[in-house]
């Protein structure tokens, strides 16, 4: 039984002038609340696909639909978390999170305040509410961005290598946190990365991409193998290691690194 489609890429292709970024024809169906990782080499066009969901690019061919509606201009329904410049330096942590609700006229100030406190708490930034971003760690800055998109009321989170600039420990901590947030405050997430470890740990489902132009090479159901709960212990398990190796082989094959090894 196939679950109801939520986010649908329907025959998509993308060209920048003569440059083919997404090869025709890209088809993918994502379920509501699914955590999908786009895994592939840098510059492969996976980010472009994600940006099209955000409405920041438009497909040259085909259509992307969310809940049956074609995607148009950017909207708070689909929030972005970038790798860098992910928060505004002139706003405090709490002002940054509150910025997500700035243009929402459908909420009373009391309601906004309540939501603000809730999401600060959810990402563990309550104690740093009045700090400016330059005074908190890179990991906290990424949490600001996550809380902002959640506060904005985004149903789809589009994350472009959000942990790419962090050190290994912070990365691991935030990955755990993101999984927890995903379970607690269920959203549909598209997470772009080239880190296999990260992909396997986070994903319900991994889509493996080729070099540019982007083509879907594999579509792996991770939750079927690892289940929905991700813990530090899982990371050290043989099951995780085997799966990671399998995915790594796929990526190597995709980028043609296999021959060099």
């Amino acid at each position: 039984m196939a679950p109801a489609p939520y986010l649908v890429f329907d025959g998509v292709a993308k060209y920048f002038g003569d440059l083919e970024v997404v090869a025709p024809s890209f088809n993918l169906t994502i379920r509501r609340n699914e955590f999908v990782v786009f895994l592939g080499p840098s510059g492969s066009g996976k980010t472009t696909l994600m940006r099209m969901v955000g409405g920041l690019e438009t497909p040259s061919v085909g259509e992307i639909r969310l809940d049956g509606q074609p995607i148009g201009a950017p909207d708070r329904e689909r929030g972005m978390v970038f790798q860098s410049y992910s928060s505004f330096p002139w706003l405090t942590v709490s002002e940054n999170v509150a910025y997500g609700m700035k243009y929402r006229n459908d909420m009373t100030p009391e309601r906004k305040k309540k939501r603000l406190d809730h999401y600060l708490e959810l990402v563990g930034l309550t104690d740093f509410a009045d700090f400016y971003p330059n005074k908190v760690s890179g990991g906290m800055r990424q949490r600001i961005a996550i809380a902002r998109t959640l506060a904005a009321g985004s149903e789809v989170l589009l994350m472009d290598e959000p942990f790419g600039a962090l050190d290994a420990q912070r990365r691991e901590g935030l990955q755990l946190e993101l999984r927890r947030i995903h379970r607690q405050d269920a959203k549909t997430i598209i997470f772009v990365t080239h880190d296999v470890d990260e992909a396997v740990f986070l994903a319900d489902r991994i889509v493996v991409f080729s070099n540019r132009p982007a083509r879907m090479l594999e579509d792996v159901d991770i939750s079927a193998e690892l289940g929905p709960d991700r813990t530090i212990a899982l990371r050290d398990s043989e099951q995780f290691f085997k799966l990671r190796t399998r995915i790594l082989r796929m990526v190597r094959a995709a980028t043609g690194e296999e021959e060099k090894v």
Binding site: G55, S84, F88
Partner: protein, 290 residues
């Protein structure tokens, strides 16, 4: 020089202090070397002392050269005489009034330039069409020497205040507009996209995010162009003026009164120094988050 040599030769003795586990003692032995270390650090006190020391050194050499007769004091009066003249001009020749009038002219012209350059500059980098239309014109005028436009300016505006303000404006506006455009261009695309994806309209994005993001560098560029504005003062105030520091300097020149010329120049320099320091302080206060 002797100080520097002393620290270099002292270095071999330093390990004793370095052996301590805390970084403090190391720092105590290091600072003098920091003087010439590429991008080294310098304490605030050392910075101020260096600035004062260097200034006094230049003044001392200058004083000495003229006192020893190596330079004719008629052409370059020593600093002591210049300062004395400056004081006398304040007391007897209304120098403060002239300085005030010049400052007022500068600020009026500068304010006009800012009011026009900020929106136009922002529009130039935000909208391709506006940029394409204005860039050639701005670049052309930007390269014109302001003195070359004095005759035109007199024909257009006569010899009153308008000409003076126009010339000062001319020297700043066209430089500023490109700097503003550049500031806006450097606002990270991520900020713009964050704004759109939380539901901002283009106008809200511009005022709440893009403008706010460019503000620190805009402020810096305003501070710098204000300085450029002062450099056109003489040109603006030699045209049929009977007030202002430019007039004072130009009038003193006519009588070969070098010390008064120097005093006028020093007055401009001092105003610039004070203004710049104040604006730096304001920048620090306004943009604490940087």
């Amino acid at each position: 020089m002797t100080i520097i040599k002393a620290t270099v030769s002292a270095a071999p003795h330093a390990p004793a202090a370095n052996a301590a586990p805390t970084p403090r003692p190391q720092r105590r032995t290091a600072p003098r070397n920091q003087f010439f270390a590429f991008r080294g650090t310098l304490s605030k006190r050392a910075k101020i002392l260096t600035a004062i020391g260097a200034t006094l050194f230049v003044l001392g050499v200058w004083e000495l050269l003229t006192r020893l007769g190596l330079i004719n004091a008629t052409f370059l009066p020593p600093p002591s005489v210049t300062l004395e003249t400056l004081w006398n001009m304040i007391l007897h020749k209304n120098l403060l009034m002239h300085a005030g009038i010049s400052t007022l002219r500068i600020w009026v012209a500068f304010a006009l330039a800012v009011i026009m350059a900020v929106p136009i500059g922002i529009a130039m980098s935000s909208f391709r069409g506006v940029g394409a239309a204005l860039e050639p014109i701005v670049d052309f005028i930007r390269y014109l020497p302001v003195p070359a436009l004095v005759p035109l300016s007199i024909i257009w505006f006569g010899v009153g205040e308008t000409t003076k303000i126009f010339l000062l404006w001319l020297g700043t506006f066209f430089q500023l507009v490109l700097l503003v455009a550049d500031d806006m261009r450097r606002v990270p695309q991520e900020y713009v996209e964050i704004s759109y994806t939380v539901g901002a309209r283009p106008r809200q994005m511009l005022s709440d995010v893009a403008f706010r993001a460019m503000l620190p560098s805009l402020f810096d560029n305003l501070r710098i162009t204000l300085g450029w504005c002062w450099t056109y003062l003489i040109i603006a105030e030699i045209v049929a003026a009977d007030t202002g520091l430019g007039f004072v300097i130009w009038a003193a020149r006519r009588y070969m009164n070098t010390s008064e010329v120097m005093a006028g120049v020093v007055a401009i320099g001092l105003i610039g120094l004070v203004t710049d320091q104040i604006l730096r302080l304001v920048h620090k206060r306004l943009f604490r988050y940087l």
